[in-house]
Structure formats: structure tokens, C-alpha cells
């Protein structure tokens, strides 16, 4: 059995360290906040100008002026701050955010990321994704390993227009966890297998240059 979306989020949460400032993208990354370990204290940044993002409000707590970057209503915590979009991206671009977790359409073996447009289809825009992957210290992608039509999304080279060049540090898919050599040409290394998944299945579904870590963990 491969990992579910929830299990992928729970695995990504293990990458969180105490004191981290973290930006979470939409989809599986948002779920990560449900799995923060008890002994780990993190602060969520939302690029629309909020640091210290709390959970969704109770029905009687909704405030139209408190939203996250996905335009969802959220709440304040003790220590929350608000700031302009320029200050927000000073945090992002200036390397002040420790970790960004986001989704992807394709990741290449050198860490190239494509997640913002498909030529010929209506383009919605990149939002803050290009700034985040360029500026945040560590970038983790959570994504399905293959597309709906069965094609691998972990590739030698991205076929779609890039969001960033050599930016991805780690990929977590339903099949396992992969370290990405974004500085060199080492490709991707399988460091952890999801429950019930075989190395053969990973190899069959991966187009990127793949190595198997000597200390491979089987979840």
C-alpha cells in the first residue's frame, strides 16, 4: 500500500524542526500543519502578509480581514504579526524562511521544478511560488509520483515551463522519500520507501536518474 495524501503530509511533517519558520502551499502541504510533532514549535508564514497563522476559525470567529494565501479564513495566534507584501517577500527572498513545502507537476533530477503552467491551457499565474522556491532555504515537494495518465513526474528534465531552476531539496510521493542533488549531478536518491512499496515499483515509475540509499528505510 502506497501512502495516502494524509500519510504523505505526516511524513513531510517529520522534516519540521523546532523554531522553524515555514511556508506551506495549497493541497497536501496544507495538511502538514495537522501533523506537527508535539515537541516541535513552528511558525507558519503566509505570503499575503501574515506570520503566525492559526487554524481555521470557529463559525463565530470568522474575520474577513484574516486570510491565508489560499484566500481561506484563518485565525491569529499569540505573537502573530501582519506586514506588507513587500516585507513578506523580503522574508521569502532574503532567506529568512527555513522551509517551503509545495506541490508540483514535474520535478527533474537536478532539482528543477515545474508547477505553474501548462502551455495551451488557461494559465492562472505563479502567485508566490517562484519567489518561494528561489528564496526559501529548503524546498520540499509533495506530489503524486505519476500523473493521471500514468507518466512519471520525477524526470530527467522537466517538459513544462519551469518555476525554478535547481531548487528542490526533497520529494515526498506516495511511493517514498527522495533526496535531490540540486547542486550537482547525483540525481535523486530513494531514502525511504512507503509501506508496501517495492524498489522495483519506484524504479518503474521514475524517469530521473535514481540511486537507492544504502541505509534505505522501509516505513
Amino acid at each position: 500500500m502506497a501512502w495516502t495524501r494524509e500519510q504523505m503530509a505526516a511524513r513531510a511533517a517529520k522534516e519540521l524542526k523546532d523554531g522553524y519558520y515555514v511556508n506551506l502551499g495549497i493541497g497536501i502541504p496544507t495538511l502538514v500543519s495537522n501533523y506537527v510533532p508535539e515537541d516541535v514549535d513552528i511558525t507558519l508564514q503566509s505570503e499575503n502578509g501574515m506570520l503566525g497563522v492559526g487554524p481555521f476559525p470557529l463559525d463565530n470567529e470568522v474575520d474577513a480581514d484574516i486570510i491565508n494565501a489560499g484566500k481561506q479564513t484563518v485565525t491569529e495566534l499569540k505573537g502573530t504579526s501582519y506586514f506588507s507584501s513587500a516585507d513578506s517577500f523580503a522574508m521569502v527572498r532574503g532567506g529568512h524562511i527555513d522551509l517551503s513545502i509545495l506541490g508540483a507537476m514535474e520535478v527533474a533530477e537536478n532539482g528543477d521544478l515545474a508547477n505553474w503552467m501548462i502551455p495551451g491551457k488557461m494559465v492562472k499565474g505563479m502567485g508566490g511560488a517562484m519567489d518561494l522556491v528561489a528564496g526559501v532555504r529548503r524546498v520540499i515537494v509533495t506530489m503524486e509520483h505519476v500523473s493521471k495518465d500514468g507518466a512519471s513526474k520525477l524526470l530527467k528534465e522537466c517538459s513544462l515551463p519551469l518555476t525554478g531552476r535547481r531548487v528542490v531539496d526533497m520529494v515526498i510521493s506516495e511511493l517514498g522519500v527522495f533526496a535531490v542533488d540540486k547542486k550537482g549531478d547525483g540525481g535523486v536518491t530513494l531514502i525511504e520507501l512507503a509501506d508496501g512499496v517495492t524498489v522495483e515499483e519506484v524504479k518503474a515509475k521514475t524517469k530521473a536518474k535514481l540511486s537507492i540509499d544504502a541505509g534505505l528505510k522501509v516505513a
Binding site: 499575503n48 484566500k71 479564513t73 501582519y82 506586514f83 521569502v92 519551469l162
Partner: protein
């Protein structure tokens, strides 16, 4: 001191509108958008606008109103996914779009308002965003040059303002408003509460009045929520 206070959005825009102008518009999603001023822009019928705004509103709200009325020629934005009218106009070839990464857009406005014509950023290096733009290596890292932006008119929304144009924003409704306020020849601000000069704490002012030419109170506001997400008690 010259009077900056106008009785409503319509009168605050008198004499500053012309076809083909570039309008800088604050807000993120529907939060912190200058709703009264956008309505007045629509009613004034000014056309061929270039709108610089992170988003393009939704159908029936925000800049969606100007799109539906066919008043916008071009958008400079980072994300327009919420708007069906936008997609329709774009696919019909009636609307141009220039996508900017969100942080680059914010910095282009900040720089423009601060008299900085261009800056270098690592955002977008190696992507379509950098095509045709100058790049330069600093300390071993490649950067792309982006231009500052200055519009003809800035429309911003604040929580409180005073009669000299000082502004205080509320919570996440600050977003793009402080940069937009600085990045145009004329800035018009609408506020929820307009107070006499001297009543705002000088230490708490986000946008000093020097950036604001005209101000109006748009109350009462009935703020729309794009995605009302709640948790159970």
C-alpha cells in the same frame, strides 16, 4: 493644509481619470481591495486601463467589475485563477496579461514608489519570466533585472485614516496597499473610519500622509469572503 478629504469615491476621482491610464490597485483576493473606488471607476466608464494588482477580483467583485465592463486592456498580476470573466476575455483575445511573481510584483511597486528604476532578484532566473531580461551574477549567483513600476493612479484601502492622509491598515488587509500608495502620480485612499488629524498614534501609522493625495470614508463596509473555511468546536 490643502484639503484632501472628499465626500465619496466619485468625487475623489474627479479630474484624475483618463482612458489608457495605469492604475495601481491594492488588495489580495478580496481582502483590502478599494471596493468603493473600483465601483466609481466602473461608473465613470474610463477605458483601456492597465491594472497592476496581485489578483483580478472575482466575478461580480473587485477588479472583476472593470473586467466585466470591458474597461481593462491589460492586467499585471501574479494570480488570476478566481475569475471566470478573466479567462473568457483572455481566450477571446480581449485582454492582455503580464504575469509577475508575487514578490517581484510587490518589489516592482515598492521600488517604483521609492524612485528606484530597476533591481535584481533571483526569483524567476532560468524561467520564462526572465526571458529577454538582463541578468547579472553577484557573488556567484545569477539574478534577473526587474523594473520599478509607477502608475498614473493608485487606489488603496485602509482601515483608519486621518484628514491629512495618514493610513492604518487592518490585519491581512494591508498586503499590497502600502506599496501601491507610493507607486503612482496620484493616490486616492478609501477608509473604513476617517478621523480628524491628531487622533491616530504617530507610532502606529503604516502609510504616512505624504503618499496620499485624496481620502474618503467608504463606510459602512460589508466585507465579502472568498473562501469561508471554519473548524468545528
Amino acid at each position: 493644509m490643502a484639503n484632501k478629504v472628499y465626500k465619496d469615491a466619485k468625487s475623489a476621482l474627479e479630474g484624475v481619470l483618463h482612458d489608457g491610464m495605469m492604475v495601481m490597485c491594492g488588495g489580495f483576493g478580496l481582502v483590502g481591495i478599494p471596493d468603493r473606488l473600483i465601483h466609481a471607476m466602473r461608473d465613470a466608464g474610463v477605458k483601456n486601463l492597465t491594472c497592476v494588482s496581485n489578483n483580478a477580483g472575482i466575478d461580480g467583485a473587485g477588479l472583476g467589475l472593470l473586467l466585466e465592463a470591458g474597461q481593462v486592456k491589460k492586467m499585471i498580476s501574479s494570480y488570476v485563477g478566481e475569475n471566470k470573466t478573466f479567462a473568457k476575455l483572455y481566450l477571446e483575445g480581449k485582454l492582455e496579461i503580464e504575469f509577475n511573481p508575487q514578490g517581484t510584483l510587490a518589489e516592482r511597486c515598492r521600488a517604483g514608489g521609492a524612485g528606484i528604476p530597476a533591481f535584481y532578484t533571483k526569483t524567476g532566473v532560468g524561467t520564462e519570466v526572465a526571458k529577454g531580461k538582463e541578468t547579472k551574477v553577484f557573488d556567484g549567483q545569477e539574478y534577473v533585472m526587474e523594473r520599478g513600476l509607477v502608475g498614473d493612479l493608485a487606489l488603496v484601502k485602509a482601515w483608519k485614516g486621518d484628514t491629512s492622509g495618514n493610513l492604518v491598515y487592518r490585519k491581512a488587509a494591508r498586503n499590497f496597499n502600502p506599496m501601491m500608495a507610493t507607486a503612482a502620480k496620484i493616490c486616492v485612499a478609501e477608509v473604513e473610519e476617517l478621523v480628524p488629524v491628531g487622533q491616530l498614534d504617530p507610532d502606529h501609522i503604516h502609510t504616512p500622509g505624504i503618499f496620499v493625495n485624496r481620502i474618503l470614508c467608504g463606510a459602512p463596509y460589508d466585507k465579502q469572503i472568498e473562501q469561508r473555511t471554519i473548524r468545528k468546536a
